[in-house]
Structure formats: C-alpha cells, structure tokens
Symmetry: T
Subunit: 146 residues, 12 copies
C-alpha cells in the first residue's frame, strides 16, 4: 500500500516556528517519525511539502493511480481553500485531515475546515503523533474497504 | 495507567441506529474493541455511558484521582454543553474528544465543539476505530508528560 | 395501538404557571383529556413527564418495541436539545411534536425547533387541544403506513 | 358556523407536483376531504385558491362578517408576506396556519413563518390531514370562545 | 399640478383595523382630508388603493405623463418589494414615502424600507396628517425644481 | 419546439428606464430580437410580460403541456419570490434564468436568486443578448435530453 | 405654544458643507425659515445647536416645563445615542425627529435611528423644508392631544 | 424568612478548580460564609448543589411554598437553559442571579444570560461575596414587597 | 477610604422618569441612601453626575490618587462607550458597575456592557439598593486587596 | 479577434470528476467544442488551464495587448479570490464569467462570485455549452463596442 | 504650513496608562517629539487634546481657514463616532488618522474605523513615531496637491 | 541593515491600472522611490514582487537570517491569506503592512486585514509614499529594539 503524506504552508518551518504551539520537533524529525511508522505498518509513505495552494492541487491530481490514500495537513489553506476541497472530491482517494495543534481550541477562524466535507476523518491536537495516528487510521480504513 | 472511556447520549443504541452514519458494530462490540486495545496498550479502561449531561459531569468529577486520562465521546452535548467544558477544565485531566462520524462533514451545528477548547485533541470520522486511535493517543500523551 | 405521550420540563406545573399563556387547565386535567381522547380513538396512551433531558432520552429509547408512536412536548428543550433530536432519529418511531402555545408567535428563541427535522409534524397553539389533535394525527398516520 | 379554507400559491397543482413531498392526493381529493370533514363537524366550509398575494388579502378582507374563522395554507407567501400578516391582524378573525409538509424539517427559509404572530396556531406535516386537523381545531376554538 | 396618492395593502381597512396603532379615522375620512388639503394647495389629487403589489406597479407605470408626483404609502410592501422600488426608479417621478405609524418604533422588520432609496423623502408617525404633510412636501418640492 | 419567454416586473419599461443599466433598446425591439432568434433556431417563442407575481405563477402553470421550455427574467421577484421558485419546481419544465444586467455586480440584494435552485442555468449581463443566448441554450438543452 | 428646535452635530456648518447632500441654504437661512414658519403657525420657536451629545441631553432636560414640544435633528448621534433616546423618554414631551437628507437612501449606518422608538414621528429628505413640515406636524399633534 | 441558595454545575469543585478565576475558597468555606450571612440577616438559608439541569428545575419547583426567595448561581447553564428560565417564571418566587466571576469580562458566550429575563437582578464578579451581597439584596427585596 | 460614586446620563431625572422601571425614589433620595450607607461603612463617598461622556472620562482621570475606588452607573453610555472603558483601564482603580434596572431583562441593546471587561464586577436590578450593595462590595474588595 | 479561454483549478479533471455534476465530456472534448465554436465565429481561441491562483493572475496580465477578450471559469477561486478580481479590473479587457454547473443551485459558498463585479456577465449551468455561449456573447460584446 | 495635531480621549494619560500597549513615553514627551518633527519639516504644529467628542468636533470646525491639515488620533471614538466622521467631511481639510498601537491586531471592536472613509490615510502601530510619520505624510500630501 | 520590500498580486501593473485609485506612478518609479529612500536611510532594500501566494510565503521564509525587517504590501491577499499571516508569525522578523490606497475607505472586504495581527503596524492611503513612510518606520523600529 502506498500513502502520500502532504504538508501545506509553513510546515517546513516546524521546530523553528512557534514551538509553544507546534512542539520542539523539527520538520525532518517529524518526517522521520512518519517514515518509521509507515515501515512498522508495512506501507510506503511519500512525503511532500509546498507553500503553494496550486502545487498541493497538482500533487493531489498526480496521486490518482499512484497512491492508495492521502494524509493531508493543509495548514492555513484548511480554512479557505474550496479548490483543495474540490480536488479531494475529484480524485476519489481517501484523504485523512491532520493538524498538529487542536485547531478547535485556537482562534475562531481555525475552527472551520472547508476541506473536511471531502475527507474521511480528522485528527487534531497531538503534535507529530497526529500524523502517525492518521497513517494507522488510513491504512486500516483502506484494508477495511478491500 | 487507568483510562476512563465515556460515551454520551444515544451511543448505547450503536448498531441499532442510523447504521449508514455510525456503522454496523453494536455498542458491546465497540466496547470489546476498546477493551482489547487497552489490553494491548497495557492499560486499564473503564467504560461509562449516560444520556444525562449531569451524570457525565458527575463522572468527570469522580475521575479526579482515579484515572490518568479520559477518552470522551460527548455525542450531541459536544455542541452545546459549556457545563461539560467547564468540568473538563476543572478536573485537570487530559481529555481526548472522539467522534465516530466526521462531524465536520455533517450538519452545520455539528461543526462546532464547545468542549474542544478544554481538550487535548480531537479524533473524528473513523467509526469504532476513533476510540482505539484515541486510546493510543492519550496513553502516549500521558507517557510523554511524565 | 400504543402511544407514548411525553411532557418535558415545567409542564407538570400546568395550571399553576403563566395561565395567560398556557391556559387554566391543570396538569391532571390535561392528562385526563388525553386519556379520554385515546379511549375514543381505541388506543392506549401512557403518559410520562420529566424535567430531565437525559430522562426524556432514556424514555424514548425504552419506547422502541413497546409503543407504536410518540406524542412529544419537549418544552424548552425543543429549542436546544440536539440529543433529543438524535434520540428520535435513533428509535425509528413516528414522533409528533406538540406545543400548547403558538411558539412561532412568542420570543424569537422559541421560533426554532431543533427536534423538528426528526419529527413527522408539529401542532402548536391550541392549548390542551394540541395534544388531542396530535393523538388523532399520529393514530391516523400509523394506520396509513400499515 | 362558516369556515373559509384558503389555499395559497401552487397548491392547485397538488398531486401533480413533487408528490414525494406533498403526497399523491390531487387538489380535488384534498378539497373533498375538507368538505367531508366540515360536514361531520356540522359546519360549512368554503374553499378558495389563488396564486396572487393580493387576491389572498382581498379574500381575507371579504371574510369579515361572512365567516367565523379561517384555515389558511399560504404556501410560499408564509415566509415573506408581511402584508398577509397585517391582513390577518386587521380582520380580527381566528386564523389557523396549515402546511401539508413539515416546514420545520425542510430548507431553512421555510422554518420561519412571518404570518404566525397573527395566527391562533400552526399545524404542519400531516399532508391532507393537516387541513382536517385544522378544521377540528378552529371549530373547537370558536366554540370555546363563545 | 396633479398628484397621485397611493395606498398599499390593508389601508382600505383604516378605522376598522388596529385603531390603537392607526387611529380612529376611517379610510374615507383620511381620503377626505387628503382631498381637502389638495384643494387648499391648489392641486389635483387622485386617490388609488390596492392590495396587489403588481397593481401598484402597473399604476406607477401609468403615472408617467399623467401626474407630476406621487405620495405613496406602500404598507407592508415597503419592507420587501424591490419590484416597487424598481418601478419608482423607472418612472422618474418624485415619490414621497408615507407611513401613518412611526415604523421605526415598531417591530424590527418595519425599520427597513427597501423603497426608500428611490424616494425623495419619508414622513412617518403622524396618522392621517402624514399624508397631508407629504402633499405639502411634494408640491413644494416640484415647485422648487421648476 | 415551443418556448415561453417571460418578462417580470418593470421590463415593459425597457428603453424608457435607467438606460445606463439596461441599455437603449426598448421593449418591442428586445422582443423583436427574441422572435428573430427563435425563427433562426426553428422554434416558436411566445412572449409574456406581467408586473404581477401571481400572474407569473399562473402563466407558469399554464405552460405545462403547452411549451417545451421557459426563458424567464423574473425581474426583482428573482430575489424574493419563493412562490415562483415553487412554481418552477412544480411544472417540471426546463427554465433558464435571464438577467439583462450583471446582477452579481450590482447592489447586494441582487446577488441572490431564490429561483436559481429550480432553474437549469443562469445568463446575466449581456443586455438583450442575454435572451437570445438563453434561447440558444434552452433549445440545445431540450434537444440533448430527447 | 412654545417649541424647541434642536440641531445636533455639524449642522452649524450647513451651506458650507457637502451642499450636494444638504443643499445650498446656510445655517442662518434655515433658522430664518424655521422662525418664519413658527410665526405663521402662531407659536414661539427657540433654536439650539450643539456638537456635544451631553449638551443635547442637558437641553432636553431643561425643556421640561418650558416647552410644549421638540423638533430634533440629532445629526449623526441619531444612529448611536441611546443616551439621547433615554432623555427623550424621560422628559415626556412630544419629539419629532427631523433629517434634511433622506437617511434611508444613504449609507447603511444611517438607516437605523436609535432615537426613533422614543419619538412621535420622523420626517426626512426635504432639506430645510423638513424642519417646517416638522413644526407643522408637532404643533397640530399638540393641539390634537389637548 | 427562608432563602434557597442554589449552586449549579461544577461549583462543588470550588477551591479545587481554576483558582485564578474563582478564588481560593473551597465549596464548604463559601457555604459557611453564606450561612453566617444568613444568620446575621436573621433568615434561614438552605444550600443545594447539583450538576443536573433537571435536578435544578425539580428543586425550583419544590421551592414553591417552602421558601420566600432564591439565590441562584446556575453556572454554565446560565447561558443555555431556557428550561431553567421557564422554571423561574413558573414558580413566581423572586430569584437573584449570582456569579462569582465577572461573566461580562470573560469569553463571549458567558456575556449572555438566558435566565436573566426571569430574575430580579444580577450580581457578578465578587467571588464568594457575590453570594452574601445577593442574600442581602433578596432579603431586602422581599421585605420591601411585604 | 474614599469612594467616588458616579451617575451617568439621565440619572439626575430619577423619580421623575419612567418610575415603573427605575422606581419612585428621586435623585436626592438615592444619594441620601448612598451617603447613609457610606457613613455606616465608615468611608467617604463623593457623588458626581453628568450627562457628558467626556466629563465622565475627565472625572475618572481626576480620581487617580484622590479615591480608592469607584462605583459607576454609566447609564446608556454603558452600551457604547469604549472611551469610558479605556479610561477605567487607564486609571487602575477598582470600578464596580451598577444598574438600577436589570439590564439583562430589558431591550437587547442593554444586554451588552462594553465597560464590563474593565470593571471588577456588576450589580443590576435592585433599584437604589444596587448602589448600596456596590458600596459594600467595593469597600470589602479594597480591604481584601490591602 | 483573439479570445483567451481560461480554466481554473480542477477543470483539467473534467470527465474524470463528479460526472453527475459536470457531465461526461472530458477536458479535451470540451476544448474541442470551444475551438470549433471559435472557428465558426471567425475568431481565434487560446486555451489555458492552471490550478495556481497566481498563474491565473500572471496569464491575465499577459493578456493585455494580446487578446481582445477573456472567457474565464475560475473554478473554486471564483468564491474567494479578490486578487483575480483585482487583476480583471486592472487589465481592462472584457471578461465573461463561466460555470459549467449552476453554481446558484449548489452549496451556499458557491452562490457568491467575488470576481463578478469586475466581469461583463455570467453564464452558468449549461455544461460545456456554457463556454460556447460565452464565446458567442463576448465576441458580440466586443463587436458592439467597436 | 500649519498642522493641527489632535489627541482624543485618554491620550493625556500616556505613559501612566497600559504601558505594555502604548509605550513608556508620557504625553509631554510625545508632544515634544511632534513639535521637534514639525520644526524639522518647517511647519507649525498646534497640539490639542480632549476627552469630549463634542469638543473634538468643535475644534475640527475651528480648523477651517486656520490650518492646512490635521493629524488625528481619535482614540476610542475612532470606532463609534459618525459625528466626527461627518465633521471631517464637512471641513474639507486633509486629515490623517493615527493610532499608537496596531488597532488591527487588538480586540475586534478596534478593527473598524468609522472615521477612515473621511480620511486621507491611516498610520497605526508605531507608538509615538505614528505621529511623526503622519506629520511627514500630511505635509508631503499638502505639498503634492499645491 | 537590510530590508525586504515585498509587493503582492497586481502591483506590477501600477501606473497601468486604475490610476484614480493607485496614482500615476508606474511600478518602476515606485521602486525607484523606495531605493532612493533606502539610500537616504543608509539601509539596503531588496524588492520582490509576485502574484503567487505561495511565492510570497516562500520568500518570507527565505528572509530569515538574510534581512532585518520586511515591508509588505500583500495586495488582495491581505484580506484572505491566513497562510501569509502564519508565515509572518513563523519567521519572527518585524513586518510593516503597507497599502497605497486607504483600504479602510474602500469596499467592505478591504477593511479587514487578516495579516495585521502578525505585523508591527500598518500604513495605508499615501500612494507610493506609503512605502517610504514604512521604510522609515521599520528602520527606526529595528534601531529601537537593538
């Protein structure tokens, strides 16, 4: 099984940025945890990051036929990008929405996810562990459907 | 480590109720999965269900000193009960918010969780697996803090 | 045919409370009218009252298999209780929503019924007669479906 | 006792139109049921239909002195016509608001009735039976006031 | 100079209707006052009343070339009829908006006039005198423009 | 193929009214263009205009069985008339919504079309050409469905 | 009869300020018209102007026992000053609200008058004539009550 | 004179919970202060606490005939419970609303009290002293009415 | 200890104004009660009244160094004056907000206090007693802090 | 005449994506229809697609001097991109807004076009035909202006 | 060139008040910086402060003919005073809006400036430097216009 | 000291675009003024422009360690881009927000800056001078912090 793990805007700065909210782990360390978890689940994880909304959409399109599922942290685009939501609906792959912080406990604008209606589920608030929980979730989800 | 797993209103009807949304598993089967997961994580899980907002608050109060953490599916009280939110803040235990369906993809009133600001994180959309992911999350969360 | 007639919060004070809005009849007299109407319709009516949201949900759950339909005046919970709405959906019985006063002609918060989307229909504004009209309605509704 | 039963816009198409919402009965059949019910209640029912807001107002004005009460299904004008509301207040007759579908369970714009503050009560969701329940209600209401 | 004085829905019931709000004068008496005022101002006043939004629009269209100005009490259509507003803009005649009651001191929906942006000015709250003030105003307004 | 072309309130004043918004062509000229276009498309076009919401609804009802499709410029009723929307749904004919001006670029109240959910599509902003584009659109739409 | 005519903030600049909205007449000329009208009505008019909300309230208080009625153009305080509204209610004198421009046809914030609920009526849009109409109105209003 | 002092949800945790907001005094100490104040005022105070909305309503009902007045801190139910508001109206006893923190200076949802329209007055922000001030207030209030 | 007691707009008319809301006591009598209470508490109370928002701000500034605390009834400025709120924050003295009527039970605009976030607490609904309760509260509050 | 036809995000997936909404035609087929229509209109059409908001803006800038008009389907950016709206205003070319589905009949967020105020007109709901209607419209529009 | 620099409510307390927001400089020091800057720009600066909305309006009126431009920090009146906005429009002088703190980064009510539509521009967030930047801006602005 | 000056979408068209709003200076001339000002302040200014939200975020990331501060005109992204706001917070550099037009005096959507909470301050309305004022401001701001 092949999983695409996508990081949206500003997540490349993890560990350098607002560590009181996002934790001390830097971007490479988080990716290392993701890869280790993938290994233990017996799946392949490709990791992608972009600050460009358009590039995230392009990558979602490319995912069709290449991956079985997507783990997506769309960063601040979560709250405004109907275009990413349309892309998720269009590609027909299961997508799990991930957030490192508990977005529902922060500023009001972060309480709304416009991409959620196109996703399987949402995991928020567990720092880097949000990604590994999501990997577990999506792998089991795909197995269940087969 | 001892974990309290709480089910709010109507969850006792699982498997009998709107199976297109909540899945085929009945309440006992879901609890079986939770207990099995607890076992594999080496922790104790007590399971509690009530349709009474006040009983959920009473139980949260009793949890102080008896449990290390709480996994809480507050059902429809999630969207209106500031009293449960106050209770979570008051007891000082880590609480993980769980939903079987992806509440952010359903009716508008379900997009808002008034208890979220008092919780560690939220997991929604994975059916019974939402609970086992939450158990994993909260056990690791507590270990990290120690 | 067996009908459960449920009274929500404060309805036990009928006749003692704001008689300009709810009329002069006291709680026992209203129940007497309900029972008399049930008799004339050839059905059995059980009457239940509680000020507890949770108890109303518990009772709705118990109704499955015991009653053919429910007549429900949820009182002020009408306007806030998504948990009662979920319970109505869960049990799969026809529920008719009743109000003694014309809630659409009173304070703004009373214009919205959050339980309505789960009910067959609504009757409001006819005092104690609202209940007897609802009994007639639900009995005919059940007969039509058979 | 003389009762005026008024049908607003599009109700003349009953039975031809969206039968999943409004039922299989056509307009003539509904009116037949109304007349039969009036007969059994010992009252006279005149039936009126118009797609014109102004004509509904004109007819309400004419009702003064000719009828004892009105049963009114204002159709979509229910949600916007303050002019009909003013007419109801002006004529001083008891008016019962009727809807065949449960308007509170449909699109948001149908949840608000601007004519409700001028009506005695509201009956919604019982198909053609909504009219016969309303006849019963208004006849009893008038008798009570005498 | 020729002035068209228009009464909208329900104003024909003046004196019969809610006299605590609209005063004791009946429709004929109000029109008598209007005609007397016109006489004293040396102008001709035609009086028109309709409960039909469309008839009010038709009449406004006919006013082009026949009248120098319009005094309009659009009744409850004041608050919803963009079509009347468009008609006023289209005909290019000066229109003075009149209300017998002080609409800004009543229910919230009456605080907004959607026709106001197309009118010269508004006079509200003086009972039948609102019309005579408006006649004075519009006659002077037309004289000023000449 | 027979097409009904409907003009709502104030459109009879075209060419006399606010020509900076609606253009210099008068009503007859616009209708001439519509008829010429119908001819070139090999279809029959009947043209109807009314300032009365009720008359528009009556005409829509009559269209059943007589026309294959409708081109409708509902004027200002576009933004408020749920009754026309219900009529469009009721008759089951394809209706194309037309506006001469770009309503989405004007006052805020004109941005919302309450009839749109019942229509096939919308064409706005091209003056008289909006009608001829709509004729082309609806004729092709009907051919496609056959 | 004694009438207090009050001008609120910025009205002292009349004739110097935004003449496309308020007209060419300067402050003295407007006051001259008011005094002339008072003379012709056989009443005394005192004229007062202040840019201070507090001074307007003080003056309203002083009016008790000294004047029979008040004509008030509260300028921009119209839209925000609940304190002036309370003052009008407190003094018990009839107050007529005046605006030179048609406030209902200007920016949205000017459509709401928070003082209106305490006033007899409102006259807006007739330039300096708004004041003379108001004088006529209030004088007749007082005579009617006697 | 007999006064019922009611504590709503979570108040039993006083002194254990968020002491920066609610102060250091624990629940017993607060109740001690209340009883001491009652003694000094020469009245009897019964103290009641529950986390159940329904239990609070039940207790209010029981208060009729047993107490002269109620001091009520409804906790988080203050902001949502129309059922408690209805109960207060129904029992006809004077109720003073109390909050230990200044709810108007906290999160937005705490600024609105839905029970306030049924209460005599509100005291908020003085910690345990809020209760003793309320006792003084309600005792004097009752004396004034006698 | 020295306390400044401030009355905002229109409070000088107490006893003359809307006595059904504010009670029969006139301004002097209320001040007498305040002074008597101050005496019994062993503190000095200076009393100040103004209808001017600016004068209230000036007086608050002057209070620094001269008084130990402030009791403030800001009247209608309570609901709009961010400037008074800023002044309270700026001077650093404890301020208790007072209202004679229960503002939370009146018109919607009175439910919001924009000065509350800068105040220690709020007392509303007890007529003149609101002031004496506030005096007691603020004196004890200051003693507690010492 | 040269026309730029622009497709926004996700439109490259046409025919693969949600065919119940967007139809069976794939992206190449739609473009073929556009080119064929351009040929029949005697104009040149360049076709452009991008998922990047910035790339759409860049392309609009490049259009100045190279094209006579633009046909733009901005996809989901229609509802949020003030930057595209600014770009349209900046380049001064006529732009016709196109949507394959009837956006006014879908989710609420799709009812608002923030780019509409900068466009000539809008065509929505006719599938691929929306583009060919738009080509016809814009070509005629340009010819009219010459 | 003569510039009027105006300070609104509470700014006289600078340096004594909330220094974490407004900085350590006191009022005199800020004025000293303004005067030094004026000197270096070769212009005259008069400095004015008032806590009275009315006094600010009076001063703006007096500025006509005496000053070439105004630098205005309206303090909290910025967010509510349409009267000051009207005054700025009335006097026809260029006014630059100044704030020491970044109002757009503080409480929501401070994000809206009702005076902005009448001002040339706005400078916020630079402490005392906001004034000197504004002086530079307005002096250059006036020179450009000459 | 090194300053990064960033121009967002459409600013490259300056001088070609809506000169009544943005002025006559073209993009190169504005940049020339910026460079000249930088020279006079003794700092280095790098100038960057992009229409891509993602490219602006990338550039902000690169600024860490290379620049001392940023002057940012985010164009229309100002009003929607939480991703740029997150980027500003993440990089920890002082950012001054610049707008050539007075955004607070234009369309309502331009009144809100979602990036403001992450910026030091805002300068708007002075055309090209907005940039030079911002350079001065940020250079002084950085010097102050050292």
């Amino acid at each position: 099984m092949r999983i695409l793990v996508m990081h949206g805007p500003n997540l490349n700065l993890l560990g350098k940025r607002e560590t009181s909210i996002y934790g001390q782990l830097d971007f490479e360390a988080v990716n290392g945890m993701i890869e280790k978890k993938a290994l233990s689940l017996g799946v392949t994880a490709e990791i992608f990051q972009s600050n460009h909304e358009g590039a995230i959409i392009d990558k979602l399109h490319e995912a069709m036929g290449k991956y079985d599922a997507v783990v997506l942290n769309a960063g601040a685009y979560t709250h405004t990008s109907y275009a990413i939501m349309d892309a998720i609906k269009a590609i027909g792959l299961p997508v799990v929405e991930v957030h490192m912080s508990n977005i529902h406990a922060r500023e009001a604008f972060r309480h709304t996810s416009v991409i959620a209606p196109a996703c399987v589920g949402q995991i928020a608030g567990f720092g880097a562990m949000s990604y590994t929980l999501a990997l577990t979730a999506v792998v089991n989800w795909v197995k269940d459907k087969r």
